[in-house]
């Protein structure tokens, strides 16, 4: 929140009304208001709560920020319980300010839901809290800016048609240089597949983007990118802004129809895939959408099983470990496919512990990876960068150390940024990149 903005009484009423509305809201939210028994199990299983044990990082306490307000303002049934706890009915401007910090300290990784005896997914409450501060215009600067940028340009990086085409040309010349043959990145052509990465891959993680292009080439698939929809990233998931999420998802849908593709293939971006496949897709645009929504890992694993790819694992001899992005492992079930690929592309693949759907969050989930400044509090607090390096990323750092890996594959633009910074900050000799970066090295192409 910016220093000068003032939270008015109307804002507070708006926040309270939004909490009240939970009583007719989604089933999960209603249940989560009612059934938590305060057993404290989530506190043991949350990376933030474990790294910095105090009341405010306790997932149940964070969820109580909303829950308590709901109980005082909800139906008669919930009011009775609110009465027992005797909290005051006030929500102060300071409370709402700290909500910004508190709801962004949770990365929404959903690990707590794996262990909660009632399956409570605290990320749903976190997102509700973020939606409330967003509606008041109080979302963290980077969140709000990224959404504005995306609404204006259709991608989070603010790329224009010209800069996108430049990036494509540059990547094509890099590919030519690396492989000695022309590998095309088709744009705006009718094809079987529309490939959509996170737009950050084009600028910040070009090796990943190149690896994906090489894969399509090697597998002989008919694919294209769209100059109007080349960014699957969607901060509406992070800010709780459903309208934005749908707007951004519509770009992908429209591009699929325009280019008459059979498949929408999302790249190395967990939350992009979650929105395209689980939240948007058929739910937004009807069950009869004329294309299938899938992911590059899924089709790559299929092509590998079909024997269509020749790979030389000796090209990647260093110890490699894999970080399961929460939106792949826990929220979309893409768990084994990246491993199949990594094993085929490397000689020394090492699992971290815990892994798969029990992995620790990188500490950059839920949009945190792009947040560096102080948020939600005016002073005497660390910046989000400090927080990510010392609290949010602590469990992951220890896990990576234990593997002894020199390359950390993390197929998600958020995870990549967070983990690169984390390795730098703690002076770890570990390179961070995507899975397809390694594929690009291991693949044997027909010349």
């Amino acid at each position: 929140m910016s220093e000068e903005s003032v939270i008015s009484q109307t804002d507070i009423e708006k926040a309270i009304n939004s909490v009240k509305a939970i009583k007719d809201g989604p089933r999960a939210l209603q249940l989560y208001m009612d059934i938590c028994a305060k057993c404290g199990t989530c506190a043991e299983q949350c990376h933030v709560s474990r790294a910095n044990p105090q009341r405010r990082t306790n997932p149940a306490a964070r969820s109580d920020l909303i829950r308590k307000l709901y109980k005082q303002n909800g139906s008669i049934l919930t009011k009775i319980r609110g009465l027992f706890n005797g909290q005051s009915n006030n929500l102060s401007p300071e409370d709402i300010e700290t909500w910004v910090r508190d709801f962004y300290e949770c990365s929404g990784c959903r690990r707590c839901a794996k262990f909660c005896p009632f399956g409570i997914d605290n990320s749903v409450i976190t997102r509700k809290g973020r939606a409330i501060v967003h509606a008041l215009g109080m979302s963290p600067k980077m969140m709000a800016q990224t959404q504005e940028m995306s609404d204006k340009f259709g991608n989070d990086e603010g790329q224009t048609y010209a800069s996108f085409m430049n990036a494509v040309e540059f990547l094509e010349s890099e590919l030519q240089e690396e492989h000695g043959i022309p590998i095309k990145i088709p744009v705006d052509q009718e094809a079987d597949i529309l490939f959509v990465p996170a737009s950050a891959d084009l600028v910040s993680f070009p090796e990943t983007q190149m690896g994906c292009a090489t894969f399509f080439h090697a597998a002989g698939l008919s694919w294209t990118m769209s100059s109007e929809a080349f960014d699957g990233a969607n901060f509406g998931l992070f800010t709780g802004d459903d309208a934005h999420m749908k707007r951004k998802n519509k770009l992908l849908h429209d591009a699929c129809l325009k280019l008459k593709v059979k498949k929408l293939v999302i790249g190395e971006c967990g939350h992009a895939y979650r929105i395209a496949k689980r939240i948007g897709g058929a739910f937004y645009w009807g069950g009869d959408i004329p294309y299938e929504i899938t992911n590059i890992f899924i089709i790559a694993a299929e092509e590998l099983a079909r024997g269509k790819l020749r790979l030389d694992p000796n090209k990647n001899p260093e110890p490699v470990t894999y970080h399961d992005p929460c939106n792949f492992a826990r929220s979309t079930g893409v768990i084994e496919e990246p491993r199949v690929l990594l094993r085929a592309c490397t000689t020394d693949f090492r699992e971290m512990t815990p892994n798969r759907d029990y992995n620790w969050c990188c500490g950059g989930g839920g949009g945190l990876a792009v947040m560096d400044s102080k948020e939600g509090v005016k002073k005497n607090e660390v910046t989000f960068l400090d927080y990510r390096m010392n609290v949010g990323g602590k469990m992951k750092l220890n896990q990576v150390k234990e593997t002894g890996a020199k390359y950390l594959a993390a197929p998600c633009a958020n995870c990549k940024r967070q983990l690169m910074q984390l390795m730098d900050y703690h002076k770890m000799d570990v390179r961070v990149g995507g899975v397809f970066d390694l594929f690009d090295k291991a693949v044997i192409l027909d010349k």
Binding site: A60, L77, A113, F115, F118, G119, R278
Partner: protein, 235 residues
């Protein structure tokens, strides 16, 4: 004393029944009617049958909790199993099963011995586990910091019910013939003497308070678990 007896024994039970049934029906209808988007937590169940298998497994062995917190799992699993055993045992408070005992070739004394041994053991175990849960709530910082008054109140209520129950079992040796006669009268809307054992009255009173509180407080985790697990397990 007479007034209290009439209230607890002849008026409150009907109130309890009405409040509990309408409260829980309201909640369940509300949950059922609420819309819900997909929010599967992977790996997901592939079929509805598979989903229910996982839910039932969770209900019986608390698998999530076992993975998440072993000491709490042990304590609370024993706690809940004791509740289940005790609830089954409580059927004999209302009625008896002479035919079943005949089939099992058990005489009245055998049945009483069984009841005393199993019921007595469960009564003691649940008391210890109830105390464990209270001590844990007070002693473990991560639990204490999220505990509210209603967390302590519900625990105190449960402990009150356990203690009065154990008093009837071990001290006043409550005669079940009295309660059976009473409950038959209650269900047929006839007036009959409410058992006068103060431990019974208090136990029955607290028990009814608990039932009344189920639709309003954390006990909603009993029906709620089926719904919340269903949301995250289904593909």
């Amino acid at each position: 004393m007479g007034g209290i007896k009439i209230f607890i024994g002849e008026i409150l039970p009907y109130i309890t029944l009405i409040v509990f049934l309408s409260g829980i029906t309201h909640k369940i209808l509300k949950w059922t009617k609420a819309a819900q988007g997909k929010m599967t937590l992977y790996p997901a169940a592939s079929t509805p049958g598979d989903k229910w298998k996982r839910i039932v497994k969770e209900i019986f062995i608390f698998e999530n909790l076992f993975k998440g917190n072993k000491p709490l799992w042990a304590g609370t699993w024993v706690f809940h199993v004791s509740i289940a055993l005790i609830l089954i045992g409580h059927v004999r408070v209302v009625t008896d099963f002479p035919l079943l005992w005949q089939v099992l070739r058990m005489g009245k004394e055998d049945v009483d011995t069984l009841s005393t041994t199993l019921g007595g053991a469960a009564g003691l175990v649940i008391f210890i586990m109830g105390i464990y849960l209270l001590v844990r709530r007070l002693a473990v910082q991560r639990v204490r910091e999220i505990s509210d008054k209603d967390d302590y109140l519900t625990l105190a209520l449960i402990l009150g019910i356990i203690i009065t129950g154990d008093i009837m079992r071990f001290v006043t040796h409550f005669d079940l013939a009295q309660s059976r006669e009473y409950f038959v009268a209650l269900f047929t809307f006839k007036s009959v003497a409410v058992p006068g054992d103060p431990a019974f009255l208090l136990h029955f009173f607290l028990g009814q308070l608990l039932i009344i509180y189920i639709p309003f407080g954390k006990f909603l985790h009993i029906p709620g678990t089926f719904y919340s697990k269903s949301i995250i397990y289904q593909e």
